[in-house]
Symmetry: C3
Subunit: 256 residues, 3 copies
């Protein structure tokens, strides 16, 4: 995948497969995550009670685990969902929000890391912390650049056999051997809550598609970068940007 | 009510009564639901702790029970709220999200169905499942058309004495004897999360109004169809559609 | 601070300090609250499990406690967070949503009132109830004007040593001795869910800034009033208003 190049083949694939994506995500980004998935043609569903989460993870095409507003009951339900997904052979993706900075979620993420995630998507601080190379940033913000965390991402991919996406001004997606670089987007994406979390949901969905998973995850990053580049031209601030971003995802082919 | 005809009398009634609507709804659609109710002149409130839910349901004009992100504590609080509403003679409305597909919520909804809901609003798969006529779809999506579920809706209305709205490309609202048909809207409404759930909140609010409840619920469906028809002309994708939809609800009279 | 005058010095201060604001707020307004803080240059984070809430409150610059969708586990986590903030010398702000109308949250807020909040932001009914001068309104709506609650606000400020902001068509901010008045804004702000709750988050963040706290809280109210005045001119209803409001916060200096 070349920088700044939208992967129209992967996009077409994504839209026609319409992956049913089970999102166990944080309370702040649920609506935006669902609307991002809908704009790309996927089918989002949020199911959180432990019994149902396990049942639904087996029915869905993909599972997202995002620990942004983790609680003890949610952690238990997430474990059940991961078990349901694994038993059914469905891929699950981890978004380790603020791991490193906060102890409870750090322990939880380290525990579930052994349950073979298909992909991991985080910012530099989170990937560094998850790889055991840093004590992390001050919460959800990253204090490192994505490139500085690329060695950690590669090490984490080799350790877990997951595709690891470390994202920021530039995104890097690696399987531990090959690394793809995705540029584009705009800094305005950091002034709207949930763009990173929603990207993780798109990554989760993309892991359910056939074909090369590294390519699929890189393509997912590319969808969001491209939409960000388009939306910033249509907006006067982060409010209109958020709407324009969803519109841009909807119209990606036409704008390519 | 004629197809494609906005019931301005019901709308005026809705706006001047400004029903205080207690929404116990899912985590994904809370903001959108509140903003839909506000745009129509109603007063939304979300109260979820069991003790408070029971107390508030008695104070509010109407109660919505939406099981989209049901949990065990929430189920208990919902029971208490229904008891509070019933003791105070206030109507409650059920949105049986994904019933049929998931076991825990299916059991819960079957149990509370005996507590005399004033109205039930669901898609075809959900109404079929609730009426015991289908095993349901794959989660929140429906795999049936609303018309195919009309016999189930009529049977469910006769069984429960609730007004049943089975909604989709065309909406059908029935009391088991009479059925009203509401057309209009746009497929874009399915690409924004929460339009169905928000409709259920408007249905709940409309059940608190005096007059014929079948007419009031059909009018509620008509408000949303009309706003969808207007909004799609003002939008370039589901992001701008969501904003335009709220604006259209706000401006319904002027556009009629 | 003069009425209708944007405090550009305070705004610059706010943006350059970028306070990390720990929001324990209700389920309905999380996204909007985060986006308001981001548009003003602050850094929001929602952390809710008790252990993490205590840990994070000590790391953050400011803590917001909003009881809109209070539950028993959340109440326990909020106590822990307040303890964490106090032990680290960080200010916390209370938004007593619907206090007076609902018993459980009223008891909770009266208990935590002794834990020395830096600021309290509510509507007239809530401030009257918290000061023990009223039985409260019908939930989240206020049935009193802010000016009618000014004596209660002054009494509450003297009792708690907090800055008290009682907001509505006109906002009053008092430390019990001095009172500042903030005008502007638009009634459309009451038709978008979360403007009051988001203001409380901005108040919380502003309490972390050096300088006179009364001025800082009044400036926070002024940011929101000014954005509301600008946004209403750019919008056709509450949907476009919500986007325009976020844009206006982002562009406050340019529009001043």
């Amino acid at each position: 995948m070349q920088p700044d190049r939208l992967d129209l083949h992967a996009l077409h694939h994504f839209r026609t497969r319409s992956p049913l994506t089970h999102c166990m995500t944080n309370d702040v980004v649920q609506t935006f995550t669902a609307n991002v998935l809908l704009a790309l043609g996927a089918s989002p569903a949020m199911v959180i009670e432990a019994e149902e989460a396990e049942q639904f993870a087996a029915m869905a095409d993909a599972l997202l685990i995002n620990v942004g507003t983790l609680t003890a009951p949610r952690a238990q339900a997430m474990r059940r969902a991961i078990e349901g997904a694994m038993a059914a052979g469905k891929p699950w993706t981890l978004d380790p929000v603020a791991v490193g900075a906060l102890s409870y979620r750090t322990r939880f993420c380290q525990q579930i890391l052994s349950l073979k995630p298909a992909a991991i998507r985080g910012n530099a601080s989170e990937i560094l912390a998850l790889a055991g190379m840093s004590a992390g940033g001050r919460g959800v913000d990253t204090t490192d650049t994505a490139s500085s965390a690329l060695p950690a991402a590669i090490a984490l991919a080799r350790q877990t056999h997951a595709i690891v996406a470390v994202t920021g001004e530039v995104d890097y997606v690696t399987d531990g051997q090959r690394t793809q670089t995705i540029t584009g987007g705009d800094v305005m994406m950091t002034r709207v809550v949930g763009t990173g979390c929603a990207l993780s949901a798109v990554v989760a969905a993309s892991c359910s598609l056939p074909g090369d998973r590294l390519n699929n995850v890189a393509a997912a990053c590319g969808f969001m970068k491209q939409a960000g580049s388009v939306a910033v031209k249509e907006s006067r601030g982060p409010g209109s940007f958020a709407s324009a971003f969803i519109d841009a995802l909807w119209n990606l082919e036409a704008q390519a």
